[in-house]
């Protein structure tokens, strides 16, 4: 009478072990899929935030000719500054990758900072209403770039730490999710230039 009961017991145990194994596989599968999905959406949010940065870089790019022309009206012999701005602007226009854009926009930022120093020597220019308006808009744009850059870097940090952390790193390697590039601000440019009237 024991033989049959033992067999039933073994069967029961076998079923339960099978269930446990299946359950563990299911759990691993769920965490695998959710890791993959979270990597995809984090990657997308980094892209979206980079789009915001690009919008503001473009806004700055568009504002420069107007500003330079106004300054030229008062300070026509400051050729060196105008040239460095023109060069940086051309470089930004030709930039393709994120790295190139970051380098070119940092160059443009320091050229603009030099322009602001030059402006200090022209009281008449500082009193010009149109110039004042342009300067408010320029410093507003610089600040927007700083804000979107900060938010971009936060997203990159979140994404990169996910990509490098176990066990997500396995999935990241499997599907080719590499770390993303930070937007490092030019030295001394963490604070947007501000005009004082």
């Amino acid at each position: 009478m024991g033989g049959k009961g033992d067999f039933a017991n073994i069967m029961k145990k076998g079923t339960i072990i099978l269930l446990v194994v299946l359950g563990v596989i299911l759990l691993i599968g769920i965490s695998f899929v959710s890791s993959y999905n979270s990597l995809v959406s984090l990657n997308e949010s980094v892209d979206a935030q980079w789009g915001q940065v690009e919008n503001q870089l473009q806004a700055r790019y568009d504002k420069i000719p107007n500003l330079v022309n106004t300054v030229k009206g008062y300070a026509s012999h400051e050729q060196e500054v105008f040239e460095s701005i023109a060069n940086a602007r051309a470089r930004l226009a030709g930039a393709g990758t994120v790295e190139e854009q970051v380098a070119a926009s940092n160059q443009l930022e320091s050229a603009l900072a030099r322009l602001l120093v030059v402006v200090e020597n022209y009281p008449n220019l500082k009193a010009d209403a149109q110039f004042n308006q342009l300067m408010y808009e320029l410093s507003g744009t610089e600040n927007r770039i700083a804000v979107e850059r900060m938010r971009y870097n936060e997203k990159v940090q979140e994404y990169n730490s996910r990509v490098k952390r176990f066990p997500t790193v396995l999935i990241a390697n499997m599907f080719g999710f590499g770390p993303r590039t930070y937007f490092e601000a030019a030295a001394g440019a963490e604070v947007a230039p501000r005009v004082e009237f």
């Binding site: 359950g23 299911l26 759990l27 004042n132 507003g140 600040n143 804000v147 066990p167 947007a192 009237f197």
Partner: protein
């Protein structure tokens, strides 16, 4: 499970404490104690809210804690969620005592109606002298100028008196499907029971351990959590954001 909960709460605590909380029931948050007759300014802002639907906070702080006023403003704006999420029609007038700086931060949704040069010129014209002379009327005038411009640009959506902004809106984040969640929950409970029956909870322990180690990156839920439970009227917490638009100056 209880211990896990306590650990989670302790992890969130430092984040909640360092955030500045709005004073309930007012639009003027004079943490530096430099304004007088604030209630006049508060009711002027309240009137603007009813006529335009634009939320505005006036905040004074003793110092900026090693941060530029621009970054301080954009973080505070996002932290308090001034304006409704998606609309982003909020304004923040931030005044710091040491250094003596001021900034008007414009939400994303008002950047069209309120260009930087417009708010910058009027900040210098009204707010600077008002602070220097401790005259609340200059600040009231500034609010009136902003309101006029918002209405003229067609960005005003009048609200009923006393209508409060949705703290609940804040909590209706897109969650997972409840049915799927229930099924998953039942499966997990069954697995946990099986695990405890056969391995004494080894697998559950290992999973919890890895979750705890990896869990700290989900920082999103602390935002605004410090005032969610406070009683009284609270107009912020709608989830509005700004992107560095506006203007700064000294006073």
């Amino acid at each position: 499970m209880k211990r896990l909960y306590i650990i989670l709460v302790l992890l969130m605590l430092p984040l909640a404490v360092c955030a500045l909380s709005p004073i309930p029931g007012t639009n003027v948050h004079d943490f530096a104690g430099i304004l007088s007759n604030e209630h006049l300014l508060d009711s002027r802002i309240e009137a603007m809210y009813q006529r335009t639907g634009v939320e505005m906070a006036v905040v004074t702080v003793p110092d900026l804690g090693n941060e530029s006023i621009e970054m301080y403003a954009v973080k505070l704006f996002e932290d308090w969620g001034i304006g409704k999420k998606g609309e982003d029609k909020g304004l923040l007038l931030l005044i710091s005592l040491n250094p003596r700086e001021m900034r008007i931060e414009v939400g994303y949704g008002l950047e069209g109606a309120l260009p930087d040069s417009f708010v910058g010129v009027n900040l210098q014209k009204y707010v600077g002298p008002a602070l220097a002379n401790n005259d609340i009327n200059g600040l009231i005038e500034f609010v009136a100028i902003l309101e006029e411009r918002i209405i003229a640009q067609g960005d005003a959506v009048p609200r009923a008196a006393g209508e409060t902004e949705g703290i609940s809106r804040y909590e209706t984040n897109d969650g997972p499907n409840p049915l799927a969640g229930l099924i998953l929950f039942v499966i997990i409970v069954a697995l946990v029971l099986l695990d405890f029956r056969f391995t004494g909870g080894m697998i559950v322990g290992a999973i919890l351990h890895s979750l705890l180690r990896g869990g700290s990156y989900r920082g999103g839920s602390y935002r605004g959590g410090s005032y969610r439970g406070s009683s009284g009227r609270n107009r912020y917490g709608g989830g509005g954001r700004s992107g560095g638009g506006g203007a700064s100056g000294k006073w």
